[in-house]
């Protein structure tokens, strides 16, 4: 029998759907906007298949609460990021979890999807990671237990930090149903700059830049803050105003930041087009199958991972393992003892 689409409208319905799947020995793919899942090849089931139903959280949508004076927002997991940005933007606030540069293919279009993958955004350099902005999650485990972790305050160390554990768990362990995020004021100025001078000659002149993206021809730098500071920083590092960079979108390699330059040095010889964020350890790539296979091998040699964003189901796409053993396996069993949630996800 073929799989089905499930579109629960509440946390209770999510729990019911997960319980049904468990009893029926069906596996579930949890889907937000599908922007990442649809490009994951054999590591995902973006549409129902013989062995999998799809649980879409798109009906769990909308801002639940935005107490602007608390600088927090609570949204249902399926809320589009654009809707979140518009809602908090009215109060002069932002959530720096946006996935990509404006004008590029989105990688994660819903809040739940962004948390699920926790792919790095260019502003991760100064803003920190997605997980550092998550204050509370409501979730349903693979066993059908509905619960929450964290709190709607900016600090909460009650119990184990499951907010961080579930952020970046790629749709395994639990279905996120609601998320509370920390917000911040929108910086008064935000401007991309460009230079062709090697960064070693100007990097020390910059304090806390928001993004640095290097490609084979130069470097793009995002500066945010007070207009006078942005102007002074750009001038002291001799950066010229520019358009945002365009990033290759075929694959993403993640390495220890200290190894980024070593990895990049190998990519030209492999025939890859690349753009690197050296301070956070991320390289955006394009290339043919052979080039990307070579890039994967190189990334893994440097202790990193490569994620192929490719609709071709024949190529392996996802290089990530579930984490340090035996703990990762035990945690999966703790949340999802019958392997209901995306059991095909991890490479090992």
């Amino acid at each position: 029998m073929g799989g089905i689409w499930l579109r629960p409208e509440s946390s209770d319905e999510v729990a019911e759907a997960v319980g049904d799947a468990r009893r029926g020995e069906r596996a579930l793919e949890v889907r937000g906007g599908g922007t990442v899942l649809s490009r994951l090849g054999d590591a995902a089931r973006p549409a129902p298949t013989e062995d999998a139903d799809v649980l879409s959280v798109e009906a769990l949508s909308g801002v639940v609460e935005h107490p602007a004076a608390d600088l927090t927002v609570t949204v249902a997991a399926g809320t589009p990021i654009d809707e979140l940005a518009a809602a908090v933007g009215e109060a002069g606030q932002e959530s720096p979890i946006e996935p990509q540069l404006a004008g590029q293919d989105p990688l994660g279009s819903t809040v739940g999807g962004r948390l699920g993958t926790a792919l790095a955004s260019p502003r991760q350099l100064a803003a920190g990671r997605v997980r550092d902005w998550v204050l509370r999650v409501r979730y349903v485990t693979g066993e059908g237990r509905a619960a929450h972790a964290g709190g709607a305050t900016v600090k909460d160390v009650t119990g184990y930090d499951l907010c961080r554990l579930l952020t970046g768990s790629w749709g395994t362990l639990a279905v996120l149903t609601e998320v509370t995020l920390k917000l911040r004021p929108i910086p008064p100025t935000r401007a991309w700059h460009r230079t062709t001078v090697p960064r070693s000659q100007w990097r020390a002149a910059l304090h806390d830049p928001s993004a640095i993206i290097v490609d084979s021809e130069g470097t793009s730098v995002l500066l945010e803050g007070h207009p006078d500071d942005v102007a002074e920083q750009a001038s002291s590092a001799q950066l010229a105003p520019s358009e945002p960079p365009t990033l290759p979108g075929g694959a993403r390699a993640a390495v220890d930041p200290a190894r980024t330059d070593d990895l990049v040095a190998e990519l030209d010889a492999l025939g890859c087009t690349w753009a690197a964020e050296p301070a956070i350890g991320l390289v955006h790539l394009d290339g043919d199958d052979a080039a990307l296979a070579g890039a994967r091998a190189a990334a893994e040699r440097h202790g990193g991972r490569l994620l192929r964003l490719d609709p071709d189901p024949q190529t392996p796409t996802f290089g990530a393992d579930p984490g340090p053993e035996p703990f990762a396996a035990r945690l999966q069993h703790a949340f999802d003892p019958d392997a209901v949630l995306a059991p095909w996800r991890w490479s090992s």
Binding site: H226, A254, P257, L306, P322
Partner: protein, 490 residues
């Protein structure tokens, strides 16, 4: 002091464990006599229990042997660093078996400062302030700065996911832990690495920060260092009422530039520390706000200018900007000296840690004052106001008949009020023993069951710091209003 007749008899397993550890650590590394154990009965809370003995390994391999011995003999253990914890996390509570305290005091090195990589590798017993000082020599800083940083260790900071004064923009400890090395309860070393920017698998590192010693023993960590801010400005504002000060916090936090620190102290706290710190706190104020802005000059100046305007609009009677780094240091010295200065007016204090949404600060302060009046106790308030994090100090003298019951009742009511206002029962001190039974209400049965399973996944033996964080099912059924197990108070 000699061992008295009331000394508990050791079981065969306990004797064998101690013999093994003595062989590994020698006399310097193991204390078994009552006198040697006495200072390890409690941390900076008032929770109190008798350890089996105290083992202080000097190296990872020694610690691994101690953990293996505990496993082999079925003896629980409680990790302990400086013992500055306030929730009983390092109190060796055991219901039928006394835990072995494993002290990290001899593993206290800052092993490496990688200036180019902006990170440091530290052992768990290294003191927080020492890392800050070592980083400063390279133009770097370590952001988490709990008020106890002069004594609190980085291992303890990892255990509790500590906060501090600069959490508002720099985030809690977890945000600054790149990787953590843990010995599991089999004595096997694991590195939970958070170095990759994405695609790193489950964030077991993040789960481990804040584990309160229940996942084995943290034996080292890579910590993130940040560039020292090029420009800093500090503002001191005195108010005629606590409510005005709390309202000013809301206005400042929602303005277009977020400060890097917003602290609030009430009149009692101010009068206690001014003699010591000479910070220039206004002695006639009911409350002071300490505000700090860091970063590039124009943003800092714009922020502090806006803050000056907002505190004035909210009725500040005095507004002083620190003229130089020496005055700034005095202002913060006063803030960090509150706990020590209390000794001048009361022999004992009980320090609470609750969080409310920032817009509820004034309401919560009113609740705290009312609770103090109801229980006839002096409470002074120090707040990480920008985070909505309150630290009421309940002052008392334990020799006073019946006072402990009133102190506990006040503590309970403070927590209950914070929860009622949509807050959290601990912001940075942890659950420990003190607050574990509140988790029944906070999480509900399903949420608690998930937490229990997580703990078993990380420590299937249950030997690592038992009776901490999670209530027993019986605890949920019986004692919802009990903050502390019977007999655990001094």
């Amino acid at each position: 002091m000699t061992t008295t007749a009331s000394e508990p008899t050791l079981t065969g397993d306990e004797r064998a464990l101690l013999a093994t550890i003595a062989g590994v650590l020698g006399d310097d590394g193991l204390r078994t006599a009552a006198y040697g154990r006495a200072t390890y009965r409690r941390d900076a809370s008032f929770l109190n229990a008798e350890p089996l003995a105290v083992a202080a390994p000097g190296a990872v391999e020694e610690a691994a042997q101690v953990l293996r011995a505990c496993r082999d003999h079925g003896v629980p253990f409680t990790p302990r660093a400086a013992g500055t914890g306030l929730a009983g996390g390092a109190t060796p509570v055991g219901e039928d078996r006394r835990p072995l305290v494993i002290s990290t005091a001899r593993m206290d090195r800052i092993v490496e400062i990688d200036v180019a990589g902006r990170r440091a590798y530290v052992e768990p017993g290294a003191v927080n302030l020492r890392l800050g000082q070592a980083a400063a020599r390279h133009g770097l800083r370590f952001a988490p700065d709990p008020a106890s940083q002069i004594a609190a260790t980085l291992g303890g900071n990892v255990a509790t996911n500590a906060g501090g004064i600069h959490v508002l923009t720099y985030g809690v400890m977890s945000q600054h832990v790149l990787a953590v090395d843990v010995l599991d309860t089999d004595g096997v070393r694991h590195t939970f690495d958070g170095t990759l920017p994405e695609q790193a698998g489950l964030d077991v590192r993040g789960l481990t920060v804040g584990n309160e010693g229940t996942f084995g023993l943290v034996v080292g960590a890579w910590l993130r260092l940040l560039p020292a801010p090029p420009h800093v400005a500090t503002l001191l504002a005195g108010f005629g009422s606590l409510t005005d000060a709390a309202d000013a916090v809301s206005a400042i936090v929602t303005s277009s530039r977020l400060p890097d620190a917003v602290e609030l102290m009430d009149a009692r706290a101010i009068s206690l520390v001014e003699d010591y710190a000479h910070a220039g706190y206004p002695m006639d104020a009911e409350a002071v706000l300490l505000l700090e802005y860091e970063g590039l000059p124009a943003g800092v100046e714009a922020g502090i200018g806006q803050a000056e305007q907002l505190v004035t609009e909210h009725g500040a009677s005095t507004v002083t900007r620190a003229a130089d780094s020496a005055q700034r240091a005095r202002i913060w010295k006063g803030r960090k000296a509150v706990a020590g200065a209390i000794a001048k007016v009361a022999p004992d204090y009980y320090l609470q840690d609750v969080v409310v949404p920032r817009s509820r600060l004034a309401e919560m302060l009113a609740e705290v004052l009312a609770i103090g009046e109801r229980e006839d106790l002096t409470i002074l308030n120090v707040l990480h106001a920008g985070d909505g994090n309150l630290h009421p100090f309940v002052l008392f003298d334990r020799r006073e008949e019946g006072v402990l019951d009133r102190v506990l009742a006040a503590g309970h009511d403070i927590v209950a009020a914070a929860l009622r206002l949509g807050g959290s029962l601990t912001g940075e001190h942890g659950v420990g023993v003190e607050k574990r039974d509140f988790l029944c209400d906070v999480f509900g049965e399903d949420g608690l069951e998930v937490q229990r399973r997580v703990r078993r996944a990380m420590d299937p033996t249950g030997l690592s710091n038992p009776h901490k964080i999670l209530p027993t099912p019986a605890g949920c059924a019986e004692s919802r209003s009990t903050m502390v197990p019977k007999g655990a108070w001094v």
